[in-house]
Symmetry: C2
Subunit: 145 residues, 2 copies
Amino acid sequence: MTYRIGELAQALDCSVDTLRFYEKQDLLKASGRSPNGYRFYNDNARRQLAFILRAKAVGFSLEEIRELLEIRIHPAANCCEDVKSIAQRKLELVNAKLQELEKIRRALDQIVDACVGGSLPATECSILEALELEALELETEEPEA
Amino acid sequence: MTYRIGELAQALDCSVDTLRFYEKQDLLKASGRSPNGYRFYNDNARRQLAFILRAKAVGFSLEEIRELLEIRIHPAANCCEDVKSIAQRKLELVNAKLQELEKIRRALDQIVDACVGGSLPATECSILEALELEALELETEEPEA
DNA sequence: GTAAACCTTGGAGTTTAATCTAAGGTCAAG
DNA sequence: CTTGACCTTAGATTAAACTCCAAGGTTTAC
Ligand SMILES: [Zn+2]
Ligand SMILES: [Zn+2]
Ligand SMILES: [Zn+2]
Ligand SMILES: [Zn+2]
């Protein structure tokens, strides 16, 4: 498949301005130009854009995303020094984000549950209190997994 | 515990300017003022700030964080209409973020693994390719869980 | 052949989230 | 009783990430 800029923007729900901006920022270059000068994009570019948008949605800056995209294993070369340590640092960052999100998810879960059945004590009412409660439960209900 | 603005900022690794800015944005008010006019914060405020910083780190805007903080169950009142639907929408958002992050984590995992043992085919080299590969594996290795 | 709907560039403007500056008050140490 | 490290306010400035605009070229549709 190939897309013109507007088609790709529509397909992945962003603006054409954003695509031109990402090009300037060296995040996503067009796969080529048509004879008339229009940019075109292939499925590879589409996947890259999808990745950029996902990474952005979970709190990576464009600079960090650029770093993620630069992580490449080159089987012959000396990738294990540089690439692996960068990938590992990013992996730690991602794992930390996953843990924070898990906490927020469990707190929201509790709030939604409480709104249905009233299983939370009546005095607990905010997301902060749900987080506190959850922390207590993790401490007392699972003394040692 | 109570903290002056500088102490709280140092404890949670942000700037005093950020704390004053969050106050203006109605995200975090000081627990009170000392006779000399200085702000002070208690552990409750500290927890709220910790939540704000965590939520920010996983890609919530300050506006979204304000909405998260406003989610409150009031056991007597009509919370199940408004609160529950807001909490559910946020929960869906959080789950979506979790899925994106999981994908990125698995791709980074594969890259780190490949850098150690060379378990990835030598032609696979970028985070995008790791994502592709992972998608294929999920399709073929688990035809029906 | 001309209007509508695309696309091009360069550059200006906006929003979000801080971050900094200026002018000054508070307080403990020496 | 002054120096230094805090704190106060209001307002200006910055950086990141878009978003919009002007002036114009290209394609399809009637
Ligand atoms: Zn309810
Ligand atoms: Zn309440
Ligand atoms: Zn390697
Ligand atoms: Zn390669």
